[in-house]
Every structure is written in structure tokens, then in C-alpha cells.
């Protein structure tokens, strides 16, 4: 009983609080039962909402931020990896210092018709153009004398990298070059008389002139262009001409369609 009576007066002051907020209502409220019931709801509800509104649940927010940062990081790395991983051989070829890309600068000279007899080429050594029906064998063949351009161009059409060096290059330099060629199909090597530089590397449409067999751009050139530069994917390098000599060897007309 005493508790209930105590509760009664205690409620009264609390009535004042909502009354202040609800001033316009107070004059209208004549019956005590109504405000009492209204007050009963009033104090409970304001208290709870205020507390909840002020509380920020930092745990989940931090978690989301952390996950977000992680996600952005992974996506960023993923994009980086995909872009880097998908760097094409063309891009890597373009990144080789001093390389000439005739596919861009002079695509008109890179015709690929089969023609008998000697052909003229714009560059020395040639990097493409009309060529003989027969290709020079490019199974890692190291030729010790000049070969016919007309056959070598056909080899490059098949995807070979043609390593040439100036006739008379010191033997140790020749040996270093040969080491990169021998045993590797889609590679061939031969001397060229009166070459402008000590070494010249060719693939279809590409050329790189160098002075030393120790230059690490040689490996870069081979890695970027060997097979990749092909004009006829999956064409072979065997069954070609294995003889040296700069005069092209014409095959019978029956072979004209083969390449």
C-alpha cells in the first residue's frame, strides 16, 4: 500500500515533464485517468528511444569499414594483376629499347606472296615481304654461311626469330648467339655480309640492331617474338631448306600452294 501511495506522488512530478512537452494538451485534459495512462506510456518510450538513438554500434561499423578496405585492396590488386598478367607480347616487344616495329611504321612492305627468284627488300636484313615457297629450316639451325633472304623471310612468316650477325664477328660472340639458338625450333641464325651492326634480330615485322651478344635485349626479343610473331599459327620449321647460299632455291610448281 505504502509503495503504491509513494508511487503515486512520484509519478506526479514525472507528469510535469511530458506536460512541458505537451503544453497545448494539458488544458484539454480534465480527467486524471487519461493523463495518467498517457504518462505511463510517456516516460517509458522517450527513455528507450533516446538511449538507442545515441548509441552507435561501432563494432559492426568497424567491421564493415575493415571489410570495405580489404575489398578495395583485393579489387585493386586484382585489377593490377589482371592488367599486368594480360600484357600482350606486342606490349612487351614495344618495351624493348631500340626495337623497330615495321608493322606500325611500314605495314605496306609486309606482303606475303610466294614468288620465285630473288626479291628486293626495304630493310637489311628483311623483316617480311614476298618470299620463296620454301622456307629455311628453322629448327634451331645455326648456319655458318649467309642464307637466302627469300627463304628466311618465309621462316619468319612461320613464327621464327632470325638471328643475324656481321660476317667476321669474333667467334666467342658467335658462340654466345648460337647458344641461344641451337636446340630451339622457331630459331635460326646466319651471318650477313656487310651488316650495319654486329648483330641484328628479326621476326616478322620487327627488327632490333645490337652491338654485343651479351646484350640482354636478345633474350627479351626472343621471349616476346619467338612463335608469337607468326603469320601462320602452328606452321612448322622443319622440312625447310638446310643449305646455305644467298640464291633462293625454287621448288617445283607442285609446292607453290604449300607454305
Amino acid at each position: 500500500m505504502s509503495i503504491s501511495t509513494q508511487g503515486g506522488p512520484e509519478r506526479r512530478p514525472s507528469v510535469v515533464k511530458p506536460a512541458a512537452g505537451a503544453k497545448p494538451n494539458s488544458p484539454g485534459d480534465g480527467k486524471p485517468s487519461r493523463p495518467g495512462s498517457g504518462k505511463g506510456k510517456g516516460p517509458r518510450k522517450p527513455v528507450t528511444p533516446v538511449k538507442v538513438a545515441q548509441q552507435r554500434s561501432w563494432g559492426p561499423i568497424l567491421l564493415f569499414v575493415a571489410v570495405g578496405v580489404l575489398a578495395v585492396g583485393i579489387i585493386g590488386y586484382g585489377a593490377f594483376a589482371v592488367i599486368k598478367g594480360s600484357e600482350s607480347w606486342e606490349d612487351r616487344a614495344a618495351g624493348i629499347d631500340g626495337i623497330t616495329n615495321y608493322r606500325e611504321t611500314d605495314p605496306g612492305m609486309l606482303t606475303a606472296n610466294h614468288k620465285s627468284g630473288p626479291q628486293t627488300y626495304k630493310t637489311t636484313p628483311p623483316v617480311g615481304g614476298d618470299h620463296n615457297t620454301a622456307w629455311q629450316n628453322c629448327m634451331g639451325d645455326v648456319y655458318d654461311a649467309p642464307i637466302a633472304n627469300e627463304h628466311a623471310v618465309h621462316s619468319m612468316e612461320h613464327g621464327a626469330v632470325w638471328v643475324t650477325y656481321k660476317t667476321g664477328l669474333p667467334q666467342d660472340q658467335i658462340d654466345k648467339l648460337a647458344e641461344k639458338v641451337r636446340g630451339n625450333e622457331f630459331m635460326l641464325m646466319s651471318p650477313v655480309d656487310g651488316l650495319s651492326n654486329n648483330i641484328s634480330l628479326q621476326a616478322w615485322g620487327y627488327q632490333l640492331k645490337l652491338d654485343s651478344a651479351d646484350d640482354d635485349r636478345i633474350d627479351s626479343f626472343i621471349r616476346a617474338l619467338r612463335i608469337n610473331a607468326t603469320q601462320e599459327p602452328n606452321a612448322g620449321c622443319s622440312s625447310g631448306v638446310t643449305a646455305t647460299g644467298t640464291t633462293p632455291r625454287d621448288i617445283g610448281n607442285g609446292m607453290q600452294q604449300g607454305s
Binding site: N25, F64, A71, G85, G140, G183, I227
Partner: protein, 219 residues
């Protein structure tokens, strides 16, 4: 009036209490979905790149080296095919050339699928443990030397056929050795399948080579 106001008071309280939380909650859920999708998409993008054999992997090394090894078998078989007089030798040469060139095509397609180049950064045979010394002048086990190839080109008749069979037998033994190694080293089911068939079919061809050789006339 009074009823309306009393009812409105709790409702405003309720809206302040519940509605913002709902908005926030929806936002977080939306963000979580976006982040989840982005993560999933990225994982999907990266998975092939991560799971595909790398540039210096056993698989890439084998595929590149076996392609080169095969290419020489094709070369020898084509040399022989043009001049074989014995029908069995001509047939064997054609079989070897066509089969191995086809397998080169399969292997080079894998390299493309793996986003790898035909030429790797690793030396020949580096994928095989204890492979030091297995290269002779850049040639892998069983491969014929340039001199032997010249001999084969210049030889004629039964002499050429016997030389071809001898060179091919040695070539197959080297190839089988490499293929057996990769079956041990790799768990890639495509690699294991192709290398497994190489081992089996080249062993059968070795038996055929020995049979044909015994039936060739003495020169």
C-alpha cells in the same frame, strides 16, 4: 484533438526510434551486398590466373620442352617419310609426324589458355629435378645432334631407314623419361593424361621399331 495528439506523439517517437535504424540497416545490407559481389567477381577473375600453371611451373616447363622435343621427332619423321622405301617405315614416319605435331598443337593451346608465352624464362629442363647435365649442346635427352640429322638427310635406302629407326628409338626413350617425370611431378589432370598417353604409345612404338628393324634386309 487530444486523441490525435497523443497518438501522434508515440508515432513520432517511434519513427525517430525505428525508421533511422531501418534506413541505416538497409544501407549496410546494400553495401554488404555490393562488397560481397565485388569480392566474388574479383575472386572469379583471379581464380583462373591463380590456379593456372605459372611461367616457371613444372607444367609450363614440360609443355614447352616437350613441344621442342616433339618438333624434332616431326622433323626426322618428315625427312624419312619423303624417302622411305619400306612401307612400314613410311607408315611409322607418317604416324609419328602427325601424332606429335598434333600434340604440339594441344600443348601450345594450353600455354595460350594459361596466358603464357611459348618461350619461358627458365632454362630447358629446369622443371625436372636433378636435370643438370641432361642437356647436351642445348639438346634434351634423346634428341639427335645436328650432325646426326645431316647424316639422316644424306643417307639413302635401308641405311637411312635403319638410322631413322635408331634415332627415333633413342628419341622416344628420352621423351618417355620426360613424360614419366611430369606424371610424377604434376597433379594437372590434362598434363597427366597427355603425358600418360605419350609414355604408353611411345613404348608401343619402340616395340614396333624393334620389330621393323629386325625385318629390314641387311645392307
Amino acid at each position: 484533438m487530444s486523441a490525435a495528439t497523443t497518438s501522434s506523439a508515440p508515432s513520432t517517437d517511434g519513427s525517430e526510434e525505428v525508421a533511422p535504424r531501418r534506413h541505416l540497416g538497409t544501407l549496410w545490407i546494400a553495401l554488404a551486398i555490393v562488397v560481397g559481389l565485388a569480392l566474388g567477381y574479383t575472386a572469379g577473375l583471379l581464380t583462373p590466373a591463380v590456379t593456372a600453371p605459372g611461367d616457371d611451373s613444372v607444367e609450363a616447363g614440360f609443355v614447352r620442352d616437350m613441344s621442342t622435343h616433339h618438333a624434332q621427332a616431326v622433323e626426322m619423321a618428315m625427312i624419312m617419310h619423303t624417302k622411305a622405301q619400306d612401307e612400314q617405315v613410311a607408315s611409322l614416319a607418317a604416324d609419328i609426324a602427325i601424332t606429335q605435331q598434333g600434340q604440339i598443337g594441344t600443348m601450345s593451346a594450353w600455354l595460350r589458355d594459361w596466358n603464357l608465352n611459348p618461350t619461358g624464362s627458365q632454362p630447358r629442363m629446369a622443371w625436372m629435378p636433378n636435370s643438370q647435365g641432361s642437356l647436351t649442346n642445348g639438346l634434351m635427352p634423346g634428341m639427335a645432334t645436328p650432325e646426326q640429322l645431316t647424316q639422316l638427310r644424306e643417307a639413302t635406302g635401308v641405311e637411312a631407314e635403319k638410322l631413322f629407326l635408331d634415332l627415333m628409338l633413342t628419341h622416344h626413350l628420352g621423351g618417355i623419361h620426360m613424360a614419366e617425370e611430369v606424371v610424377d611431378l604434376s597433379d594437372d589432370k590434362d598434363i597427366d593424361w597427355l603425358a600418360g598417353t605419350m609414355v604408353a604409345s611411345q613404348q608401343r612404338e619402340i616395340q614396333a621399331i624393334q620389330t621393323i628393324k629386325s625385318e629390314l634386309p641387311a645392307n
